[in-house]
């Protein structure tokens, strides 16, 4: 089998695998639903996810260890992931192939030449890793203050080396000493300046451009809901994800840019490709030319996917190992070998030290700049209710890669991508929107945390969620708390019985309870007692339509008899009002004023019981802006949001 056929087979396999994982990420009991399918495997193989969370948190979570395999293979083989595995890359390659169908060789060769702009992806990578490493850098900077002896020891050892080199009269010795001294002074000064500041922080933003999370997010949130119908039936109710315009626009822009330059995203944007470029620069095997036989025909550049110029000095970090040059060379010059290319190689990515430092510094400082808004502190947005098991906000932002797996798997479609509600760092992270979906956050469900590939949402157990078993002392997990808006609530504001919220509250005993209140009904004039025969009462005054007042919720009472219990109206007919029993005091007189009362059950929320599941908000009949709404107040994950003593 030709190597290109093998490569295509691999690409098709992983592309279909990706689509299959997207499809089966549905909660259910069918074999094609989430029944142990390793739906996160491709995310775990993506080493940028592992590296990003490692930098941000100092740990490599569970399955992310798979990324190590990719890294090892890349170091040995080069960017095989891009050309052989990456489903997003496969999509670009296929679209580029279709879009440039029938183009002539000169156009293709021109389109596939190396461009300076291809270094942008390295700057993006450095920027994103810089943003993720903020916390680590803060801790490094703090060393001279916190463990001055260690810092001094490091500096002294380095200086000794420098002085030793100076003694040996090497030219670089002097530079050594001065630069080490400069770094040491800078270190101390920086540590003095930033000491006590909590702003230098880590924020994982690789997911914005990392192709695997990007592709998952795009397919899960913007493509599957559109094709979910009779043929591909994934959910009973249509799925909605507010704010997906931007996600879709970025996805389609990336796809359509293949019309301009094939594999535009891979060559110019992809930070994962950049990481592979860096890792694979010293790959053992690499694509290159043999010593002789090259006629400079240029055929190898014609279908080059990476834009790495195999016809000339090949740029190894750009090579995506599509192997097209091997197949296209009619002179047998191109090969994938241990020997370096006879025409020469550029092994290092095309990015200078000063660019590297500049973008690293930009990434490191961008996060503190964003944190100045205070969204992780006092300016936290209470409308951002995170899924159950979410880490405390700062740690959450160090892990969430915005892949949208939680939004895909949520059985009630209540998890949605955040816009700017959680600050610029929180874009496309999950938040709950109880106005949408088929129900609130079902309190017996723990799907999102168990699917989250980075444990931004912890994989909690049902017992932990419900506060049972070993979690009884701590009680159930709260994601927020419901507040009754008394200005919009039917019973509170409009004297209409309702309490749908109380009915649907799923915790036992219910977090929503009611207090009964009899309120006088607004009528056009006074009701006066005319007479009373048995349970039947006649009156003078405005007409009382039976379909309004004989519903079982309306009562009458007589003014001037304190302590009288209101009596329910059973029926209203031409003969007067039929009451449930014969209540009126014997000395009730004609012309006594009758008060018509409505019996209201007024809803209250018990903060000690409410878990913030939002079923009440979802079911509230005031459908626009709900009369009961959940905010993140009292959520378990943030101590500072605690409400009760």
């Amino acid at each position: 089998m030709r190597i290109v056929t093998t490569r295509r087979t691999s690409q098709i396999f992983f592309f279909l695998l990706f689509l299959w994982f997207c499809v089966v990420s549905s909660l259910g009991e069918q074999w094609w639903q989430l029944r142990g399918w390793p739906v996160n495997w491709l995310i775990q193989l993506d080493p940028l996810v592992g590296l990003g969370t490692l930098l941000a948190t100092g740990t490599l979570y569970a399955g992310l260890l798979w990324g190590l395999l990719t890294i090892v293979m890349t170091i040995l083989l080069g960017r095989f992931f891009c050309g052989w595995l990456c489903p997003f890359g496969t999509l670009h390659q296929a679209v580029g192939w279709l879009a440039n169908w029938g183009r002539r060789a000169p156009w293709r060769i021109a389109a596939n030449r190396y461009r300076r702009g291809q270094k942008v992806k390295y700057t993006l990578l450095v920027f994103l890793l810089g943003a993720a490493a903020g916390d680590l850098i803060r801790r490094l900077i703090a060393v001279p203050i916190q463990t001055p002896y260690l810092a001094a020891a490091i500096v002294v050892v380095l200086l000794m080396f420098g002085i030793g080199a100076l003694r040996l009269r090497t030219i670089s010795g002097g530079r050594w000493v001065t630069s080490i001294a400069a770094v040491a002074i800078g270190w101390v000064v920086l540590s003095l300046f930033t000491d006590g500041s909590r702003l230098l922080a880590a924020s994982l933003q690789t997911g914005l451009l990392d192709p695997i999370p990007l592709f998952y997010r795009s397919v899960n949130l913007t493509l599957l809901p559109l094709v979910d119908g009779r043929l591909i039936s994934l959910s009973v109710a249509s799925r909605f994800y507010p704010g997906t315009v931007a996600i879709g626009a970025i996805f389609w822009a990336a796809v359509l840019l293949n019309l301009v330059i094939p594999r535009f995203y891979c060559r110019f944007i992809c930070p994962l490709g950049a990481l592979f470029g860096v890792l694979g620069k010293n790959a053992l095997w690499r694509v290159g030319q043999r010593a002789d036989g090259c006629t400079a025909c240029g055929d190898c550049d014609r279908y080059c996917e990476g834009g790495c110029e195999p016809s000339a000095v090949i740029r190894t970090p750009e090579c995506v190992m599509c192997m097209n040059c091997l197949a296209d060379c009619r002179h047998g010059v191109m090969g994938y070998r241990l020997d370096p290319s006879a025409a020469g190689e550029v092994a290092a990515p095309d990015i200078s030290k000063r660019e590297l430092v500049a973008f690293l510094a930009a990434g490191v400082t961008a996060v503190p700049l964003a944190r100045l808004a205070g969204m992780t502190g006092d300016a936290w947005n209470p409308t951002v209710v995170r899924p159950p098991g979410s880490l405390q906000e700062e740690e959450f932002l160090q892990r969430c890669i915005k892949c949208g797996q939680c939004m895909r798997v949520c059985p009630t479609n209540v998890i949605h991508p955040t816009g700017f509600q959680a600050g610029i760092e929180g874009i496309w992270t999950p938040m709950l929107n109880f106005r949408m979906g088929t129900s609130g956050c079902q309190h017996g469900c723990i799907a999102c945390g168990n699917l989250c590939p980075t444990a931004a949402i912890r994989p909690i157990s049902i017992d932990e969620r419900l506060g049972k078993g070993g979690f009884e002392a701590r009680g159930p997990l709260r994601i927020g708390m419901a507040f009754v808006d008394r200005g919009r609530c039917l019973p509170w504001a409009m004297d209409r019985p309702c309490i749908v919220c109380q009915e649907n509250c799923p915790v036992s005993p219910k977090a929503i309870f009611t207090r009964i209140e009899f309120r006088p009904v607004r009528l056009d004039g006074d009701l006066r007692l005319r007479g009373m025969t048995g349970n039947r009462l006649t009156f003078d005054g405005p007409a009382l339509p039976s379909d309004r007042f004989a519903t079982g919720d309306y009562y009458v009472s007589l003014d001037g008899y304190p302590g009288m219990i209101p009596v329910r109206i059973v029926n209203i007919g031409p003969g007067g009002i039929t009451l449930e029993d014969h209540p009126f005091t014997a000395n009730a007189a004609e012309e006594d004023r009758i008060t018509l009362l409505v019996r209201l059950q007024l809803p209250y929320v018990d903060p000690a019981r409410c878990i913030g599941c939002g079923v009440c908000e979802h079911e509230c009949p005031v459908k626009g802006r709900r009369a009961i709404r959940v905010t993140a107040e009292n959520e378990t994950r943030e101590r500072q949001h605690r409400l009760l003593l």
Partner: protein, 331 residues
């Protein structure tokens, strides 16, 4: 540069093209002309009817089966209760299609008693099939996520294993419907598609506390056939239950008071909300069934205004002792 004069052929071609384009544009414009503004709300033209599913000769029959101890066997008890009223064959004729309207309102496990028990659903499905039913459909429009509700309550698996078809509601299954003589159910989406496909309907509900209406039993259970923003009907809960009784005339109802949800209804959520009450009622009169069910909750018909309201429109009688009453001891 010399100017090229237009030749006759080109002049004629261009005139024809221009003429056709003008004609096409004019035809499109005039063809789609509409002098009136669109109406405020598009009127629904379809009016569907829901047939009367009751059997004339079977009206006014009720069987109250009481268990000897806790741990009553629902499947055996419901069979004995039906047998006391002439067997399932008296209700379902061979070849008929039967709809079981269960209560699958909440995504909670069967042990919490907030929904129809899967054992009971499976037993009634089997009774129908044994009586010769050609098809048994199980449905409900739950409050929580429909797919989760059917899965977690165990109803989906139990019903399918017993040989029934489970219909999980989708938007396309609803049709706008008006109850004749009704005030609330006017032009309202109703889970119509399964209703249209059956000859008989059996209502199945557990006995549950319900803060707003007093109790949720067989009459309140028809709420699960409504779609749309049905929650606004809670403003007038007793009247909506009355209209649901006007909408559905069931073949028979099964009220499960094996255990009753005494508090925290209708969701429950804790075993302590339940109490073994050892009673199962099969009745062709849903009002009578609910009247008996109310006693299990320690309430009376007078505490539940919807009972009198349902009675007043002829849906049944609260005086269940006046009916053909069988009281049996389940063994």
């Amino acid at each position: 540069m010399t100017e090229q004069p237009i030749d006759r052929r080109e002049f004629l071609t261009r005139c024809t093209q221009a003429g056709l384009s003008v004609a096409a544009a004019g035809a499109l414009g005039i063809g789609f002309y509409d002098g009136k503004a669109p109406p405020a709300l598009s009127e629904t033209t379809e009016t569907v009817q829901i047939p009367d599913f009751s059997i004339a000769g079977m009206s006014g029959k009720i069987c109250i089966a009481r268990g000897t101890s806790q741990g009553m066997d629902r499947a055996g008890t419901v069979r004995q209760a039906f047998d006391a009223l002439g067997g399932m064959k008296a209700f379902v004729k061979p070849g008929e299609r039967v709809l079981l309207k269960v209560n699958a309102a909440f995504a909670s496990p069967p042990a919490l008693g907030a929904t129809s028990h899967p054992d009971l659903v499976a037993a009634v499905v089997r009774l129908c099939l044994d009586a010769g039913a050609s098809r048994v459909i199980v449905t409900d429009n739950p409050i929580n996520d429909p797919a989760s509700c059917f899965a977690l309550t165990g109803i989906d698996a139990a019903a399918r294993l017993a040989g029934a078809e489970v219909v999980i509601p989708r938007e396309s299954l609803f049709q706008r419907f008006s109850v004749s003589g009704g005030r609330l159910i006017r032009d309202w989406p109703v889970l119509y598609a399964p209703l249209a496909r059956v000859d008989r309907i059996i209502g199945m509900a557990p006995v549950k506390d319900h803060h707003r209406s007093g109790a949720s039993m067989t009459l309140k259970n028809w709420y699960g056939l409504l779609g749309g923003r049905r929650n606004i009907f809670h403003q007038d809960i007793h009247t909506i239950i009355q209209e649901l009784a006007m909408m559905i005339k069931p073949t028979v109802v099964v009220l499960d008071g094996t255990q009753s949800m005494m508090s925290n209804g209708p969701t429950g959520g804790s075993l302590s909300d339940l109490k073994p009450t050892g009673t199962l009622i099969v009745s062709t009169d849903p009002v009578a069934a609910d009247t008996v069910g109310a006693t299990l909750l320690g309430r009376t018909a007078a505490d539940l205004p919807f009972i009198a309201k349902a009675e007043s429109i002829g849906a049944g009688t609260a005086d269940y002792r006046s009916l053909y009453l069988k009281e049996i001891q389940a063994s």
